[in-house]
Symmetry: C2
Subunit: 491 residues, 2 copies
Amino acid sequence: MAKAPQRLAKRTYQARARVLREQLVQLQQDLRHVPFKVLLILAGPEGAGRGNLLNTLAEWLDPRGVETFSYHSPTDNERAHPHQWRFWRSLPAMGRIGLYAGSWYTETLREEARSQRALSHVAEEAGRIREFEHLLADGGTLIVKVWLDLSQEAQGRRLRTLRAEPATAWRVTKEDWHHHRIYDRLARTAELIRRQTDRPGARWTLIDAEDERTRDLAVGRLLLTQFHAQKKRITLLGHATRPRVQRSLRPSGLKRLNALPLDQDLSEKDYDALREKWLGRLNRAVRTALAAERSIVFAFEGWDAAGKGGAIRRLTSAIDPRDYTVIPVAKPTAEEKHAHYLWRFWRDIPRDGRMTIFDRSWYGRVLVERIEGFCREDEWKGAFGEINGFERELTDHGTIVLKYWLHISHAEQLRRFREREAAPHKSHKMNAEDWRNRRQRGAYEIAVGDMLALTDRKNAPWYLVAADNKRFARLEVLRTASRAIEAALED
Amino acid sequence: MAKAPQRLAKRTYQARARVLREQLVQLQQDLRHVPFKVLLILAGPEGAGRGNLLNTLAEWLDPRGVETFSYHSPTDNERAHPHQWRFWRSLPAMGRIGLYAGSWYTETLREEARSQRALSHVAEEAGRIREFEHLLADGGTLIVKVWLDLSQEAQGRRLRTLRAEPATAWRVTKEDWHHHRIYDRLARTAELIRRQTDRPGARWTLIDAEDERTRDLAVGRLLLTQFHAQKKRITLLGHATRPRVQRSLRPSGLKRLNALPLDQDLSEKDYDALREKWLGRLNRAVRTALAAERSIVFAFEGWDAAGKGGAIRRLTSAIDPRDYTVIPVAKPTAEEKHAHYLWRFWRDIPRDGRMTIFDRSWYGRVLVERIEGFCREDEWKGAFGEINGFERELTDHGTIVLKYWLHISHAEQLRRFREREAAPHKSHKMNAEDWRNRRQRGAYEIAVGDMLALTDRKNAPWYLVAADNKRFARLEVLRTASRAIEAALED
């Protein structure tokens, strides 16, 4: 049996730790001024000392800038949401460091210890993780992933030493010994996962965990180095620049938009007669879906003054107030602006058996943010794929996703703007921005067209609604929503 | 059968609504500058139109300043927390209006509809609600409670009219008819609850709901009136003033504090031997408690530099990182400052089977806030009772609550302050405030004494730990915590 390697002398350790601690606290101060999120993910075999390392880091860092995360097997509530939900909603706040003793890797690795699974299954989970980390990294989050490496031999040595002392024997569980026996298999799977999730912005670093002191210093230093690299990267990336000309990526969408006849008619009398009928049908469809533990997500987009609010209120008048939430999407807060743009929407994704209606949505990324240059070109171009992935994640879970574009003519918009400005009780709905947006109708039409062409998917279709006639639009929303929900239940 | 009363003419309604809408939007703007939370609770029998009213208010108000709440029967996750938790965590943000179509009253009233219960049981629930609303109102929240009154006759008329039309028949459910039949009993219970929860700061207003238009205008006006009264009240209350002299409310606590011998000794060798033994015992106790779906809350308080952080890290070194969270309690954020001081602690209360360790706690209210005059005298004096109520709510649910005061001498504190200032890697732990607090030792001793005397309860006891010797203190925490958790499991 090989001897344990020499430990780093206590004195040397203390001297180095002192320097490192100063630098880490400095890092935390910097993080307040160039704010991004930092995730430090600690993984590794039993005995590698994740818990101890966590305690050391808690001692070194200023606790006010640290949040610690860990995940159990999903709770009922977490199971009632799409897989990624619990990770999205528990990220650290801006400018803070999240320490993950357990992470999205933990369950995958523990599953493997319980029973060997097909490699394809593991690869599939790795794929999901890759996607998730890609989104985070894209949003400016620094992800530092540490694999605490411990040989089977060293693991055995550690377990036996602990067991030998009555005072420490409690630290060694049956599970530890089981993991020790299947060390090779677990190590192979872990390596596979690491390889498949080692991507720019979310790299793995192997750190030898045999000597605690060397290990702790190495992790602290890694955090420092990667932090400084990220700070530089973010500064280099620079800011978004306003695009000079808007060009269609996919003209078919614009054609579809322009082909919609807006002169639909519907008299008040006909509307009154049909409204209750369709409200009833929608009510039945929604009740059936929610009772079957499906969840429903509506995203309402449309021109300013297209009547989104009114359409939503007609829709909700058929639903039990306890079953739905309306989320009005305003400009992002400072916190949200710094996070990945999908983050704030993840928070409000409904659990099974509930419904969320977004009044404006994640499509702001490819509409206002594209037009106004609030994000870089590569960012909004990348968003089409990300959004499709996001909605796929929802529908894979069983969520019914319905997206509406309420379309009005340029002339009708002008009429409504003027009406709003004239009525004191509606004037708060108007501001200079509305007029500015209006002047950019052409650019927006191109963006809306691309959105329709690139994100109209079978699992999450767009409904394009002619809204010059408010009654027609409201009824059309009720009709299409009822039918779509009924169809989703038949699948 | 009596005839339906005259409806308010549409024209009159529209004219009045226009004025009201302007005033409401103005209210929302004011709310940004004198920020407090506004809760509008809508309750009443079936057919009184809570859903419709909600839609009207959503149309009248600027949606960016509104959040809508509603509660189903508690989910598993909610059941795994103390009763009030779900209400505390879902309050609207500062300066916003929360609309409650369902509230803490809903479950109580629905229970009653399912099966008649003893009046004493209903009274008990009303008592809990009263306590909760009292805390909110005390924290400056405006609670507007509306009972939509509808006679049995009017209810029957409405249900029959809806049923008669094929298009609207779906709106009437079997449950509605059941509630209609037992109208008298439900009305009696509702009246009892209203009477028992009609308190200053949380008054009920009855509004006749028979005519929708009159009803909507009345609710809007009520919101306006109560908002302006609250604004005036908050301005009148004024600010906290610094108390001139600190006087013990209950000198027995101060005596107990001063009687603690601080010169405890424990050699490094003895400590090393005993530490693992007690860590093991704590580990077993915690694992047993969590496996039995009990939750554990630790609150650590003590002088600056008393070693709270170190004691917590020793404690957590025995616990699976996935089982606990450490919450460092810093100064409240702007948002938290405006909310009830217990609010932010409610958010972090663990679910069953988990543990939360608060590094500083809700006792800040009767310590720093009392000494520095951050709150009014009536506020900190009232806090002792509120805190006892809060902890009682936790322990009633089955949570084990352990509170620690780490006590060091004035001389030992000075030694540690100087040591911290001399070590660059620790200097971030010191600031001017620490020195200021130190100069107020006498005042703090009085406050700590009162805290010990007034909040040391059998269900949530204080452990007073001599901490001049760090090793002794850490061991003492392990020992007392292990024993307390074991004892709680035997109950």
